[in-house]
Amino acid sequence: MTSKERLMAAFHRKKADHVPVCPDISVMVPAKLTGRPFYELFLDGREHNGWTSATYSETYVEAVKHFGMDGWYIYGGLKEIRPPGAPEFVDTIVDNSEGKLVKRICTTPLGELTEDEMYFADEPPWREGKPIKNLKEDFARFQLWMGKGGWKWEKEFKDRSRIGDHGVYVAMIPVFQDWWFHYRHGGFERCFMDFHEEKEFMDGVHEFWMEWALEYVRALVEAKPDELMLGGSSASLSISSPAVFRKYELPFIQKAAKICKKGGVIPHLHICGRSWELVQIVASETEVEVMEPMEEPPGGNVDIAEAKRRVGDKLCIKGNINTFDFMMNATPQQVEEKCKRLIDDAAADGGFVLSTGDQCGRDTPHANLFKMVEVAKTYGKY
């Protein structure tokens, strides 16, 4: 079986030749593997339609080959066909002692939107300034940049061949809280204060976002990725709450999953950190078919054996080894023991992808990643 076939079998809750193995190495492990300053990878100036760069996406595929793992390519997307004369962000790159600061300005008829993103040599980029600073004024400008409807995208994923049979090609769209956190200046507290203090206004923002997001889901599904991932890091119960999830995320997840199923694309939901309460809601109230990373303690609260028992007939489980405490510090022997236990607990009859509980840290020992792959290929044989 190819890596792509192996993962697709698991996503359909069937047995592959062996348990697929796909630690989440994005984005630091592949970047470090190149030995190059990270900003060179991200600021390559090449055309690319995903959330990261063409060079980074190639770097990921090289890392997949290096570790011999099954690839989970989440770096692509569809190019938006912008209306003529629509306001655009213009970038200026400023060198500083830590790396490169990208300053972006978008001039709209209602005024400017600005954002600053810092690119480091040895850390992933970080957005220091986001466009929506003054909630109501900036959101009006933001809508002029985003457009208020009639969105169009190209019909095909131009980077699809990059991963080929080394893994699955995953289209991605953020859930509402991730989207809002991405554009709203300030931290999570600011976002929650918006939800609490500006309920009516935020209901309007959510309605606008839903319209855009469902249009984009339809476009992505028509382009036939292997999976459509709904990115929900900010919906994690380590940060948010079941009540916020039910209000802002569940209606979208239900609709998006339905569109995916109708279009023959696998709906996949990512919620890291504490997620067990949400896993159960998703399994019983949506048509989502794959969920990850079902993080174990101390970062999350999912017991994989219980997850298999309770939701294994509904969801393919991808997960769930802790990254910051375990993968960074464990010996390969300890990794082997844990992987064998996870396979025993969750791999029977298929529907399990051996993976980590979220992104692996930059300095994760390579021996631990190689060990995961080795155990899946040997002990995980069906």
């Binding site: 480091f120 929650f192 009540a243 970062g299 910051f324 840290g361």
Partner: protein, 216 residues
Amino acid sequence: MDLIQEIAANVQEGYPERVKKGVEKALAGGLLPHDILQKGLIAGMNVVAEKFKSGQMFLPEVLNVAGAMKAGMAIVKPLLTKESIKSRGKVIIGTVRGDMHDIGKNLVAIMLEAAGFEVVDLGTDVRTDKFMEAVERENPQIVALSALLTTTMIHMGGVIEALEKKQMRDKIKVIVGGAPISQNYANQIKADGYARDASMAVDLVRRLLNHTAGTA
């Protein structure tokens, strides 16, 4: 339900306007500011802290509660005598370099304040040298470091090393927290303590300061 209990209940429900009105009414009725603070505002927050600790409440709801408590504190605090607001200790808190996450850190700051500690919040993306400047300026008993990213948590160790270099480590306790942090990691970087959540951070600070002469 008496007025103080009503204030505590409105704190728990996260209603800032009701808390504000309740506090004003209580003061007009001759109740002591100290009693309103302790038996109304802080008592309400303590119930919420326990619910949060046991997983019955989540961060967004706790933030609403904190907002309600702060609305009441803003009225009561200026009326307290110097004696009744004597600090139980000073804590410098911040999210480390490269990390803009604030929610957990803010909640720890609010809960520490509610528990009677003086808190100097340095904000997010705080460089090691900024922590050191604040330590020299503020003379705290505790430095509390927060991080939400595996890439930024490494800077926690840098703050501890800087305190060691300045030979201040024996006078200042360092506590750490944030999603990717664990007791193992705290041990690795030689922090004095780790707290899984804001409520536990308050317990930790209380515990550490009880062992620090002259501050409890």
